[in-house]
């Protein structure tokens, strides 16, 4: 996984609540056997008409948000299906960080496994950032994971909380599986105990 470092980018507001992963990437685009190339299908039915033409009122079809690297979202973002294609599509489009008041559980896990940073902030602070975003290209945010700080265009900073383990993994680009395999002896020991205590699980 790529290391997450400080970056500055344009933030696009997508304020709808309960934005489900079917909207982030509809099921008909899940037929791929690869992780790459899903950005064209991101928010497909919100971004494009059935004939393939852009819907001009959708934020990512408007300058400067076409180049957004950050999304500002409503509560329960990423609910519904467990499809990891949702963070893959966001990353492939160029989104590196999503900021909102709450995220759905599976989406939250999936995002961090791929180096997509999710930041949870109180609704009032998200609202303030959305107001900033109204200023378009001037509304760049700087996201500093190391210092857990978002810096607004005017220079004001917002601190954020994040799970220390996830932060550590993101900053260092660590592979979860590698970390777990380092504990293989503990897994072996667990299985050995269970084979005695609950043998029907190993029949």
């Amino acid at each position: 996984m790529k290391k997450f470092t400080t970056f500055t980018g344009i933030a696009a507001p997508v304020p709808a609540i309960n934005m489900n992963t079917d909207k982030i990437i509809p099921a008909r685009f899940l037929k791929t056997i690869k992780r790459s190339g899903l950005g064209v299908s991101l928010f497909k039915d919100l971004r494009f008409d059935p004939d393939g033409s852009e819907k001009p009122d959708f934020v990512l079809n408007q300058a400067p948000f076409r180049d957004a690297a950050i999304l500002l979202v409503g509560e329960n973002f990423g609910c519904g299906s467990s499809r990891e294609h949702a963070p893959w599509a966001l990353l492939d489009f160029g989104i590196r960080c999503v900021i909102g008041p709450s995220f759905a559980d599976i989406f939250y896990n999936n995002a961090f496994k791929n180096g997509l940073l999710l930041i949870t902030l109180p609704q009032a602070e998200v609202d303030a950032l959305m107001e900033d975003a109204g200023r378009g290209a001037n509304a760049r945010l700087t996201v500093d994971l190391e210092n857990q700080r978002i810096t607004r265009a005017g220079g004001a900073a917002i601190a954020f909380e994040i799970d220390p383990f996830r932060r550590h993994c993101l900053l260092n680009g660590l592979d979860d599986i590698g970390l777990t395999l380092a504990k293989a002896d503990k897994i072996d020991a667990y299985e050995a105990r269970q084979r005695v205590a609950r043998p029907w699980l190993y029949g």
Partner: protein, 468 residues
Amino acid sequence: MPEPRTLFDKIWESHLVDERDDGVCLLYIDRHLVHEVTSPQAFDGLRAAGRKVRRPEAALAVADHNVPTTDRAKGIEEPESRLQVETLEKNCAEFGIRLFSMNDARQGIVHIIGPEQGLTQPGMTIVCGDSHTATHGAFGALAIGIGTSEVEHVLATQTLIQKRSRNMRINVVGAPAFGVAAKDLILAIIGRIGAAGGAGYVIEYAGPAVRALSMEGRMTMCNMSIEAGARAGLIAPDETTFEYVKGRPLAPEGEAWEKAVADWRTLPGDPGARYDTEVTLDAAEIAPQVTWGTSPEDVLPITGRVPDPADEADEGRRRAMERSLDYMGLAPGTPLREIKIDQVFIGSCTNARIEDLREAARVAKGRAVAAHVGAMVVPGSGLVKRQAEDEGLDAVFTDAGFEWREPGCSMCLAMNPDKLAPGERCASTSNRNFEGRQGPGGRTHLMSPAMAAAAAIAGRLADVRELV
């Protein structure tokens, strides 16, 4: 005396491999269900890193999302769907994982075949790269839906990195009235707590109305836990559970069975166990439910009317309602029973088990699907299909004008050829009424199998209590 523990606490603690000071845990996973959509990239990851599957015998794979529900002799026509199914077959052969192929009688929706085969057992941890994995919680198993990176992690390590969820108990007291099914109970619960109401929790469903449910009904309830945002749903195992599991192909036998049941009897929560949140509903007050919007929380009794966004004080919710009603093509104040439908889908991991088909057939028997309505029944597995045919349910459906299909996920998420045309309105027994879920521009109303059958006959959303 030890602290009283919940069912979730017990399963969690008995599966801890490692716990760090910051609360990050390594949880052992007993069983892993695999399907074609969320696994190819996980197997690729294993190959790229030169890793093996730690316990291939703990996994079971099946293709369900992409498979056609019509004649399968021709195979899968669409190249991308075919490639995904073939990729699953190749990966399972390479890594030594048992697979039910498309033409196996045991093939079906992953969350239907797990319990059907006896793979799903009380006290287990079970994962699948699918959010409806919560279904298996009906057996008192901790069943978690995961993403593809986690699928790869479980394949490689047989563990999952997790933080402990909080405990929520939802008590359904009283007895449901005539015409009210498990689907109505869970829809009413989601309506009450909201699409994010379960976030951060594992929900245990309890109370006399839950106890009285069959395993099929319990699976329907647990299945939709994710629609309330919960990590998992659980129901304490009891005699109903043991009776269902006993004798299934993957269930323990003889002495192992006795030992397992003795263990399973210790699983229910201890008296005085603490839940972080408790919610109580009276089943007797729940009428048959239908959704009107594009989130499962947008649900009302069939006797209700389409709500008016003007009555919603919260701006975010008002906007969401306006957008939903616009997408659904509905005007505020319209009686739900006057909403005309085009299609009916009876199927999905929520409602495609034998009991669901019996309930729908009871309504359909001797009646006819409205002339303007297309209706299909998609059994959850080849074995459900066979049993339904043995009971004559297929004839009941086809005589009434329903199509009788081969098993799969089908029009629940429209990855195969079964989908709504733009603007079409569907009475569906599936689990999600999201925009475009059953096909781009399609409009979904969620309900129970009996209610969907009633809608097929009436040609509009209908109150099943007026038909049976």
